[in-house]
């Protein structure tokens, strides 16, 4: 049987989607996390509950929202609440199983930076900032991260810690009084990484088909380790690819159709 052709971004999105179990309550960041969460909903996890920080709870968009508060999210949600309510009652209230986030930089303990590249006071690149991430990463029961893996994103030391993973590793996260369990997986375009016990450093647990250890190591600024039983990620199925491509197609059509002035 010949395997379908797919891109590394598709492999990443499909891998991330598979991590989301059916019925989980998921707080979704915009971009790659939203794509993966909706792919999960349209394939193996029809009962996943998607919460967006703008207020929709139980959103079931037919196309991917371009922004975090598109009308499609409100119209397909079980309910729409105010933004303070999302963060106070639903996230801080401990009702979110999975936080799904992206990042501009990540370190070996899955701490992430979405604030600045360079010095905070005189940044080389001013990034959008925290958004919901600091409290999603600390209040969700677990966190999934999606990041394209390069020397610029997988860094030895973050320029700025916006949101926490495992701080300095080991039990430091729990010792700091942070409630959720933290990142359980980091999904990239090359592999899947998971925290290793007991130091909670990220190690490669599966490599995407056709990706070598050398390629992964070359795309990481720290001395990256591989799990002893490190295997190969299952490639995307035809069904997963078909649903993902249809989602992208319908989204592109919806963005082009904006009717404002």
């Amino acid at each position: 049987m010949s395997l379908p052709e797919y891109t590394s971004d598709e492999m990443m999105t499909v891998s991330a989607a598979r991590m989301l179990r059916n019925g989980a309550v998921c707080f979704v960041g915009i971009g790659l996390p939203s794509t993966a969460a909706n792919l999960a909903r349209l394939t193996h996890a029809p009962d996943v509950v998607l919460i967006y920080e703008s207020g929709p709870i139980g959103a079931k968009p037919s196309h991917l929202p371009l922004s975090i508060g598109d009308s499609e999210l409100a119209e397909t949600a079980d309910t729409v609440v105010s933004t303070p309510e999302v963060f106070r009652y639903w996230l801080q209230g401990g009702r979110v199983d999975v936080g799904f986030l992206g990042a501009a930089q990540i370190d070996r303990y899955a701490n992430i930076n979405t604030t600045v590249i360079g010095d905070y006071g005189s940044p080389t690149v001013r990034l959008p900032g925290a958004g919901g991430a600091p409290e999603i990463s600390s209040n969700a029961k677990e966190v999934l991260l999606i990041v394209r893996q390069t020397l610029q994103t997988f860094v030895e030391k973050l320029d700025f810690v916006t949101s926490v993973g495992f701080l300095s590793g080991g039990d430091s996260r729990r010792a700091a009084g942070i409630r959720g369990d933290g990142p359980t997986a980091v999904i990239t375009d090359l592999c899947i990484l998971q925290p290793r016990l007991p130091d909670r450093e990220l190690v490669v647990t599966t490599m995407h088909p056709g990706i070598s250890r050398e390629r992964i190591a070359r795309s990481t600024s720290w001395d990256l380790h591989f799990a002893e039983d490190c295997g190969e990620t299952t490639p995307p199925t035809e069904h997963e690819l078909e649903v993902l491509r249809r989602l992208h197609c319908e989204s592109a059509a919806a963005y082009a159709a904006g009717d404002g002035a």
């Binding site: 105010s82 940044p123 001013r126 959008p128 919901g132 409290e135």
Partner: protein, 288 residues
């Protein structure tokens, strides 16, 4: 007590140079017409507050209206950077911008505290983050009952809040629905509130529990159809995603941005005029 007036008169009456001002609306109902009028009237030295600066503050920052910005996420959603915001932070153009950076959870809690006229918000947040290191207003407080260390941050109480809503009745009672963000809190936290609306109606016909802002917490109500363009007004028009994408090109370069502001805002009489000019620009882009 709400007074119906033109947007131009409302901005002149309530917005002076140097005040703190919030134009809220989370992706939905962003009061763009009001942002344009602030630029048109040449307002300066404003302390801006908004969870997501979005294109509306990118335009105001680039036009030189602002001296500071309190915010929690400053990107062009789904597209990329806000180039005018970045230029101000990275290069001080057109004027330096002091930033007071917070998280969504913090700022939405701070709006609730502001609406309740409390001095500070309390939340579980920021643990392990560098944000408290660069923002000394993010502090901790011990729970007086359990001793748990919690985060405390100052309430937001701007001089003026401006929001856009779907409709208002003749007395100035305002109804909004859909994604309502922090608009109710932002109005109740402010000393003065201006609301632009899609339409004036005889009766709101709002169901119980609907988000209605009574006329006596609002100073001015202004009729501005399509006043949230290029964001959207649920039930009236959709988000102009194409413009959000096009903004990336318009705003990337200082000269292109300045020319856009001149043609679309400074050279137009009001938002209706802007919509005509913008529609013409869109036709030209489409025919290229």
């Amino acid at each position: 007590m709400a007074q119906w007036m033109t947007l131009s008169d409302a901005i002149t009456a309530f917005v002076q140079d140097g005040i703190s001002i919030a134009l809220e609306g989370f992706t939905h109902l962003i009061p763009f017409a009001a942002g344009h009028e602030l630029i048109r009237q040449g307002k300066r030295d404003l302390s801006l507050v908004r969870m997501t600066p979005d294109l509306i503050y990118d335009q105001m920052i680039g036009a030189g209206c602002a001296s500071s910005l309190m915010f929690s996420w400053g990107g062009n959603p789904g597209v990329g950077s806000l180039h005018r915001f970045r230029d101000a932070v990275e290069h001080g153009w057109p004027t330096p911008l002091v930033i007071n950076e917070r998280s969504h959870s913090d700022l939405s809690n701070a709006w609730v505290a502001g609406a309740a006229h409390l001095p500070f918000a309390v939340l579980r947040g920021y643990t392990g983050s560098d944000l408290p290191r660069v923002n000394p207003q993010i502090r901790t407080i011990a729970c007086p009952f359990t001793g748990e260390e919690l985060t405390a941050t100052p309430a937001v109480r701007p001089d003026v809040t401006i929001i856009h809503a779907q409709k208002a009745d003749r007395k100035g009672n305002v109804l909004l629905w859909g994604i309502i963000g922090v608009q109710k809190e932002a109005v109740l936290a402010a000393k003065h509130a201006i609301v632009t609306v899609e339409e004036q109606v005889d009766r709101l016909d709002a169901p119980p529990n609907a988000c209605v802002l009574p006329h006596w917490v609002i100073d001015a109500v202004c009729l501005v159809p399509r006043g949230a363009t290029p964001s959207y007004a649920h039930g009236y028009y959709t988000r102009d995603n194409a413009f959000y994408r096009r903004w990336d090109d318009i705003s990337r370069d200082r000269a292109t941005f300045r020319a856009w502001v001149q043609e679309h805002i400074l050279n137009t009489a009001d938002f209706g005029d802007y919509l005509r000019v913008a529609a013409e620009s869109k036709r030209q882009v489409a025919s290229r």
